[in-house]
């Protein structure tokens, strides 16, 4: 039977831990709400932009003009460019571990990495992969914060330093499930897939149904001018959107992990309290026995 004082000390320390994990659970649940709202609010814009680009691509093809834009050209893939969106802090369950395992499994050849979040930076540098740059982005993830990163990414793609841009991020399935995903962004080949994926998450946008117009599309001021700016904006907005989604996933994961930790601490406290009471009872019984024995003697 353990010492009474030892048990009491352990109960106290576990209680302290529970207090911390509970606070973290509450903080991340309020942050999760905000992150989810931001992600939901950004979806229509990303979706319509993808839709617009799809329409433009389609109509330009129809009118016989082949698309010549570096973002649409499929090159031979020598070096993959991978952007990892991870968290700065741990204590969010297996979120980062799952993501890094997926990367380790799927990215075998030559690749260059750009990371967001300290965990990804550590992973890439410790496993001896090619780290190009790492960026710190605050909780708010404002679009302007992403600008240097986006510029670096797009320039690297244009200069041919990397032949693809792929984004590895924990995608938000629901509060309990976050799935690691590696989504390819450039070159733009499967716009339809991105569209379908986004459409599932956005409802009530009337402009999406109105696609059946066979008349020729007019571009103002010119098709080139529109095509000049649109793909780049698309890439930027999608990356921003995915960052928002990954933030929502992070807070969900953290909230769930901290809830589990709080529950575990409560169970542990219950068990320890039981032990403590048993030990106390044993000590009292022992004392009574001793007194009775000495009285009888």
């Amino acid at each position: 039977m353990a010492n009474l004082r030892d048990i009491r000390r352990r109960i106290k320390s576990v209680k302290n831990t529970r207090q911390i994990t509970r606070a973290m659970q509450l903080v991340s649940s309020s942050k999760m709400k905000r992150a989810q709202d931001a992600a939901v609010a950004g979806r229509p814009y990303a979706l319509l932009l993808a839709d617009l680009l799809d329409t433009v691509g389609e109509k330009l093809d129809l009118s016989g003009a082949t698309i010549s834009h570096p973002f649409f050209e499929k090159r031979e893939v020598k070096t993959r460019g991978i952007l990892i969106l991870s968290t700065d802090k741990g204590l969010c369950g297996a979120l980062n571990t799952n993501l890094f395992r997926k990367i380790a499994e799927e990215v075998k050849g030559a690749a260059k990495f750009i990371t967001v979040g300290r965990k990804a930076t550590q992973f890439v540098s410790r496993s001896g992969r090619g780290l190009v740059a790492d960026f710190n982005i605050s909780d708010k993830a404002a679009f302007s914060e992403l600008r240097p990163m986006l510029k670096l990414l797009i320039d690297a793609y244009k200069n041919g330093e990397v032949d693809t841009i792929e984004i590895a991020y924990p995608s938000f399935v629901n509060v309990l499930v976050q799935e690691p995903v590696i989504q390819s962004l450039l070159p733009i080949v499967d716009l339809r897939e991105v569209l379908e994926q986004l459409k599932k998450r956005v409802s009530d946008l009337p402009s999406l149904e109105a696609r059946s117009d066979s008349r020729e599309m007019v571009f103002e001021p010119s098709a080139e001018a529109v095509l000049d700016a649109l793909p780049e904006l698309y890439v930027k907005v999608i990356i921003h959107q995915l960052l928002l989604e990954s933030r929502a996933a992070e807070y969900c994961a953290r909230m769930v992990a901290m809830k589990a930790a709080t529950d575990n601490a409560s169970t542990l406290i219950d068990d320890l309290t039981l032990d403590y009471n048993k030990a106390r009872q044993a000590a009292i019984t022992q004392e009574i026995l001793e007194i009775a024995a000495s009285a009888a003697a």
Partner: protein, 136 residues
């Protein structure tokens, strides 16, 4: 009737029916009526007019894109504000600040991209003022 949607990265600002919509495009104002041919256009910071039977509404928009397809207009812009919500004092203050920043930036010669972003924000602020002024 045509359906108009204005969407910014932060939210869906507006979704409404109108009889005519006037867009501030790069090559001037363009009025869109029912049955307009499909068009994709770049829009500049300015005022977007929504003409309904009940009256005309003004919305200040930032630069972006507009797509007209099958009686639906989707406007994708960095920012959009309903004229009724514009606070002239705040706009003026922001404008002075932005212009000051622009002036300093020009003197010190910062990078071109930052300058362009500043200029665009000034344009949007001016557009808000103009749109507000029109209503009174």
């Amino acid at each position: 009737m045509i359906t108009l949607e204005i969407i910014t990265p932060d939210a869906k600002v507006l979704s409404t029916e109108a009889s005519q919509v006037v867009l501030p495009t790069e090559s001037g104002e363009a009025g869109i009526l029912t049955g307009h041919i499909p068009i994709v256009t770049k829009i500049v910071a300015g005022e977007l007019k929504v003409i309904k039977e009940s009256g005309t509404e003004f919305i200040a928009v930032d630069h972006g894109f507009a797509k007209v397809l099958g009686n639906t207009i989707s406007v994708l812009t960095e920012a959009a504000i309903d004229v009724a919500e514009i606070d002239l004092g705040a706009v003026e203050l922001a404008q002075t600040k932005a212009q000051e920043a622009l002036r300093i930036a020009e003197e010190e010669g910062v990078d071109y991209e930052q300058l362009e972003a500043l200029e665009k924000s000034v344009q949007f602020l001016i557009a808000q003022k103009l749109a507000k002024g029109r209503r009174r």
